[in-house]
Symmetry: C2
DNA sequence: TGCCAGTATGTCTAATCTGACATACCATGA
DNA sequence: TCATGGTATGTCAGATTAGACATACTGGCA
């Protein structure tokens, strides 16, 4: 579970030392990352719900598929601003966002 | 109420044409701005709750009072990333954020 | 196996955001 | 009235992020 979490973060572009000192992320940082992951997951679920591909979404955004992939991966070059704007562009509203934040992360839960 | 809302946005640095065509903010933009305002208000309330001044908060952040003022004003040069990080640094958590988002805005409500 | 749609990753340049500083505003109390 | 503490606004240089493009991975199916 710790390892899984770390993998997710690394995939997301966070250069984490190695497993042990993973904890020199401060509490704030951890909360921030978790929030970003929640939004990213929310975005992916929302897109899938709409039955759209990343490419289709990218086109609608006037952006590129690669950028959408990074959004959903909560990559470090992706801001929460971008995640929020993207969700809104796909029709989500403020309450949907709040819902995503209250949702327990599905992946590193097991 | 419309006028009040507009004033808030202008104070926040959004160049809004004039009252009438205020509506050429798209839905997405409006939702995004509202979200930012909610976080900004949340930050101010959180700080006041802690009985701190903007200057004190700035010092704790390693930032400046002017930046804190802009955060609380949801100024356009302030990202939601900064707002979230700031809230987390003051001890808020993801659920607190969700709560802020579900809260009806106090100001342009009347 | 070889294709293909969908997704992921790396790296550029332009645009945006950050903290700092200077300065202005705004109440309240002497 | 004028200090003073707290808050707001404008601007700038350095840091970070956006979209684009190239390219690589992945799973399914002929």
């Amino acid at each position: 579970m710790r390892a899984d979490r770390r993998r997710r973060l690394e995939r997301a572009g966070w250069t984490v030392g190695d497993a042990g000192d993973f904890l020199h992320l401060t509490d704030e940082e951890r909360r921030f990352v978790d929030t970003k992951l929640a939004l990213a997951e929310g975005l992916r679920r929302w897109r899938e719900q709409l039955g759209m591909t990343q490419t289709q979404v990218a086109k609608r955004f006037g952006s590129s598929q690669s950028r959408v992939a990074k959004m959903e991966a909560a990559h470090r070059t992706v801001s929460t601003d971008l995640l929020l704007k993207s969700l809104f562009r796909l029709g989500a509203n403020q309450r949907d966002i709040a819902r995503f934040l209250n949702q327990k992360p599905r992946v590193h839960a097991a």
